[in-house]
Symmetry: C2
Subunit: 318 residues, 2 copies
DNA sequence: ACGGTACGCTGCCGTTTCGGCACCACCCCG
DNA sequence: CGGGGTGGTGCCGAAACGGCAGCGTACCGT
């Protein structure tokens, strides 16, 4: 329905080059070039700054770009909305997520969704924390399953769940019997840390700094899967939320001990949606589904190694 | 920039007829027809119900229509935004207004705006109260200068001013000396009323009903100008806000006596903007301008016949 | 200094799309 | 049973679009 120039303009801005955009679009660069020139002529001002390296949007270009991208996103949403009129939900749900959610939790959710709504497609990505705000605002993703960060603006938290970042280790680890641990206690043993590029790490480093503990991690990685393997092999203690290790904890292969530090013992994971954007029907369904699933074992997330009914005393304890 | 089919689709829906739309668009009806058929083919579902009388959007059509219209409005806004990058504000401001504001107040505002920003165009309309919500929501207008109505949803009140609906009459009218009047007192004299189709009337009829007063108006009209003329000619008392009669009141040609009924003595006029819609630069300027102007003589609106210092004597006399 | 390369841009030309015209089929109304 | 209204359809010229080859330029590495 929409003019081709919208896609062209978007791609050129993304690629920073007319020729690259043309290649990505599978059209001749001349065609793309002419569309851009014609567009600039219509708007009346240059939309790109030309340089040897390529093109860069001007202020006017940025403004129009926002309109174009919003239009494309809204069109997709409208299409999904129309498709769901026929009863069958379809469309694409675009999610950005913590890698820990992505390891065990979300695959199950996605499987359940596809079972009920076969025509729904998914894009599930982990992103650099610095790109979270942009990914949500730009509409590249419908919503995020992320740590709740008060610094994020223009974002609504539609659901929120307490979880405890804790020490993850094998049952035969010397610290495995503890009900709660401090970072200082853990620091005497080999530890395994997430790469500091990631949000979890960002939270933890600040906490470490406050507690005065100094950790020299034996292993650093940004892969939850890698961490799983090295922790299972007894190479050290990992600091994670239990979510990505539900199976191992349930089977007794690993033990998750909450940390005493207040900022870590009650981290909050939430469903974050961009404010002022309507959600597509499949995205709405997906959010409801995630919310329901999360509340179902919310207690497990908060205190993974014990049962709900008995927690009142113990909480007073910790 | 945007495909022609957007305009076609919009017009067809508005006109309820492909041929009428084609005429309004100055293209052949066959061209419009084919674009619609092609669009329906692309979306995959019928967008219109065909009947002998013309076409009517289906549910899917309504959905897509909302997207299309929003796209067009946002495009205009983006254009205006780009244009204001160059320093000169341009674009069109679309306002819906009370007719009383339209009689004296808004023309002055518009004149001042065009003096400062010659490239800004205006559309100022009075609309049927039942269409206010639709006009704001659909984006047909940027904002409204209207009575604040709590029943309106999805609308923000960015500025609000108390005003008093009162009895307007010539200085030699028997009631002209009163400081405050009740509807019952006025009911003994000939009155002039706004046509009941209009919001002001809607407010007043409820108030009349509560106060138990029965008015059999000598003259009914929906034209502020007509009311002005017949009141000046001494044909009766009008029930209005003083806004549309500033000049006459200041010159002493007419006297405005507030009404005692609480719902009338402190009516609220506000600037109403649709929530969740960005305003174009000229619309923002216009709103700020109106707000400033209104606060400047806000006291005049609230108590027109009693200026704190100088005018108290004369008013008491008349 | 000099190719090599990547960039945006521009004639030229075939193909696709668009729009105008005339016309068909249909329905309602007088 | 016409007359006027509706949406839909061949046909055809015109305009737009896209592909190809090529131009000028600026940068980079040898």
């Amino acid at each position: 329905m929409h003019a081709a120039v919208l896609r062209y303009f978007d791609h050129v801005a993304r690629q920073g080059s007319i020729r690259k955009a043309a290649e990505a679009l599978s059209v001749a660069s001349s065609a793309v070039n002419r569309q851009i020139l014609r567009l600039e002529d219509e708007i009346g001002v240059p939309l790109f700054e030309r340089s040897r390296a390529g093109v860069r949007p001007t202020a006017a270009g940025e403004l129009l770009l926002r309109h174009v991208r919003e239009t494309q996103i809204e069109f997709q949403r409208a299409q999904a909305e129309i498709a769901s009129l026929g009863g069958t939900v379809s469309g694409t749900v675009r999610i950005i997520s913590l890698e820990s959610m992505l390891a065990r939790f979300l695959p199950e959710i996605v499987a359940e969704m596809t079972a009920r709504h076969p025509r729904v497609n998914f894009t599930v990505l982990t992103v650099h924390p610095s790109e979270i705000a942009e990914a949500l605002r730009s509409g590249d993703s419908d919503f995020g399953v992320l740590f709740v960060d008060n610094r994020l603006s223009g974002v609504d938290v539609v659901a929120e769940f307490r979880t405890a970042i804790g020490a993850l280790m094998r049952p035969n680890h010397p610290l495995a019997g503890a009900k709660v641990l401090t970072l200082t206690e853990c620091a005497r043993h080999p530890v395994i840390m997430l790469n500091d590029r990631w949000l979890l790490s960002a939270i933890m480093t600040t906490e470490f700094a406050e507690s005065g503990a100094r950790l020299s991690p034996r292993i650093v990685s940004n892969s939850i899967e890698f961490m799983r393997q090295v922790i299972v092999r007894g190479l050290g203690i990992g600091f994670v939320t239990p979510i990505g290790f539900i199976d191992e904890i349930r089977r007794g292969e690993l033990v998750h001990v909450p940390l005493a530090e207040p900022g870590l013992s009650d981290s909050r994971i939430g469903i974050l949606v961009p404010r002022h954007r309507r959600l597509s029907p499949p995205a709405r369904l997906m959010i409801n589904h995630i919310r329901q699933r999360l509340t179902e074992f919310g207690s497990f997330l908060a205190a993974p190694t014990r049962e709900p009914a008995k927690r009142s005393k113990r909480n007073r304890r910790a």
